[in-house]
């Protein structure tokens, strides 16, 4: 991965009224990292991600992207949500185009990128379909294609596969790794699934229970494609599990 800091979070604190959710969190994400963030259920993982991009206003601290305050209108950030966030009135193709239209990408390049990412996520055949005509996994693939088509500097993913069955999850995880390897986009991937974190991330950041802080960041240099049954994989998974364990 790069040796340049992509995201720098300094003393991030977030309160909802009197409830302290994020407590003085500091960490860095390097350029090209695929950072998986895991933590106990309800520890504030989504709050953490939403605070990074100003969906929630932070109480104190500083978040920098490439050394500048995060501004989604000026910086190229994409976010894949837990639930379906495709625009139901747009076809698959128009959904993938959506971010490119906002960013005023020239039409030739726009067409090229739409073709490329529709092909990568295997939805070329369904380009004229509306979201209501698609399955849950296809919808998530539309969101992935829409996010990657903007060729973001930073991609945030909030448990995007949480509601999918195991087979589809594996498929989309492989797809994400393939896209990440191709594009070298910096990705922050929130999950409650430890196996998923070990399978995907080149770094794993473990959060504590509320009030949330960073417990530990682990470098994951297991070779790809990763084998979930290999002893090293199991060892790392157990290590992360022990760090999360609150029972």
């Amino acid at each position: 991965m790069g040796d340049k800091e992509k995201v720098s979070v300094n003393h991030l604190t977030k309160k909802f009224g009197d409830l302290l959710v994020l407590d003085d969190v500091s960490f860095e994400v390097m350029d090209g990292d695929l950072l998986c963030v895991v933590g106990p259920t309800g520890c504030g993982k989504t709050t953490f991600l939403n605070s990074l991009v100003n969906i929630y206003r932070i109480t104190s601290g500083e978040i920098l992207l490439d050394g500048r305050q995060v501004d989604t209108r000026k910086q190229n950030i994409a976010y894949i949500f837990q639930g379906d966030s495709t625009m139901p009135w747009l076809t698959v193709e128009e959904n993938v185009q959506f971010g490119l239209n906002l960013k005023k990408v020239p039409s030739g390049e726009k067409k090229e990128r739409v073709e490329k990412y529709l092909d990568i996520v295997g939805l070329t055949k369904y380009r004229k379909f509306y979201p209501k005509q698609l399955s849950a996994s296809m919808l998530q693939r539309v969101s992935i294609a829409r996010a990657f088509a903007t060729e973001p500097e930073l991609l945030l993913m909030d448990e995007p596969y949480g509601q999918l069955d195991i087979e589809l999850r594996f498929k989309l995880e492989d797809e994400l790794v393939r896209l990440w390897e191709m594009t070298k986009t910096t990705v922050i991937f929130i999950t409650h699934n430890i196996e998923e974190a070990v399978y995907l991330g080149n770094k794993i950041m473990v959060l504590t229970n509320k009030p949330t802080t960073v417990k530990k960041t682990i470098i994951n240099d297991l070779p790809r494609p990763r084998d979930i049954a290999s002893p090293k994989f199991v060892e790392l998974r157990n290590q992360v599990t022990d760090l999360i364990r609150w029972w």
């Binding site: 994409a78 379906d84 966030s85 009135w89 906002l102 509306y130």
Partner: protein, 261 residues
């Protein structure tokens, strides 16, 4: 024969049977009961209607009267619904617009359009403007509420997704809020068009030289029950046609809102 065709045929058959039964009871009532003293039978009304269509009632044919009413409705409905949808979308999206306009709107909304008739006559006289004013009010009241609800209930995840992709507020309003509110807007337009149609008839019954309301009023003045019924039937037909047209437009604009392949 596929399921859809079967379903369609069945619904047409049911409609024919129910209308047939209604006409049958009407005919039976006029022939066998005291109802005959109050109402002409369906055949007499149908013959009178044919005469009004090919000939004249007052200064023009029944269809021309219907077109006069339709013209008033369309002018008033377009103005009223454009104003209503615009205000509703703004109130749905922006708290400040809601805080400023909603209290006034909530007071005006429950007032039935016919309650405005005296004021409209005083302000605008007995001509076209007063009638169109009433229709504007009828369309405005219904469309505003639905557009506001549609804009307010947009899935926040869609707005966040657009914001994350770099959308500014104006782009969010244009590319997310408006399209997401379209089904709710159409629900309001459906009610608005029915309400406009009802209002035009009421307005024409006060003072007009043509239109379906005038036909009914003139029929009452002349004690011509067939003419009154012809006017009433054409109101029903006109209202039904407008609703069907609106539903067809909605079907095209909201084709994305249908599930299944």
């Amino acid at each position: 024969m596929n399921e859809k065709v079967k379903e369609r045929l069945l619904s047409v058959l049911c409609a024919v049977i129910s209308i047939g039964l209604f006409l049958g009871f009407w005919w039976w009532g006029t022939q066998r009961t005291q109802l005959g003293k109050l109402l002409p039978d369906p055949g007499t009304v149908f013959t009178a209607m044919c005469g009004y269509i090919t000939g004249t009632v007052g200064k023009c044919s029944l269809l021309m009267h219907m077109l006069s009413s339709l013209r008033r409705v369309l002018i008033g409905f377009v103005i009223g619904s454009l104003a209503g949808v615009s205000l509703g979308l703004l109130m749905g999206r922006y708290a400040l617009a809601r805080a400023v306009f909603n209290p006034l709107y909530r007071v005006i909304r429950p007032i039935p359009p016919i309650a405005w008739i005296p004021i409209s006559i005083i302000w605008l006289g007995l001509g076209e403007q007063a009638k169109i004013f009433l229709i504007i009010l009828a369309a405005f009241a219904n469309t505003t509420l639905n557009a506001m609800t549609g804009a307010r209930d947009v899935d926040p995840e869609l707005i966040n997704a657009a914001r994350m992709l770099g959308a500014k507020e104006g782009q969010i309003f244009r590319t997310i809020v408006i399209p997401a509110a379209v089904p709710a807007i159409f629900a309001g337009l459906q009610v608005g068009i029915s309400s406009s149609w009802a209002s035009v008839v009421a307005a024409e019954m006060i003072k007009a030289e043509n239109g379906l309301g005038w036909i009914i009023q003139a029929g009452m003045d002349n004690n011509n029950m067939s003419q009154i019924l012809a006017g009433i039937i054409m109101i029903g037909v006109g209202g039904f046609a407008l609703t069907c047209i609106m539903r067809t437009i909605e079907g095209v604009m909201c084709r994305w809102n249908k599930s299944g392949r």
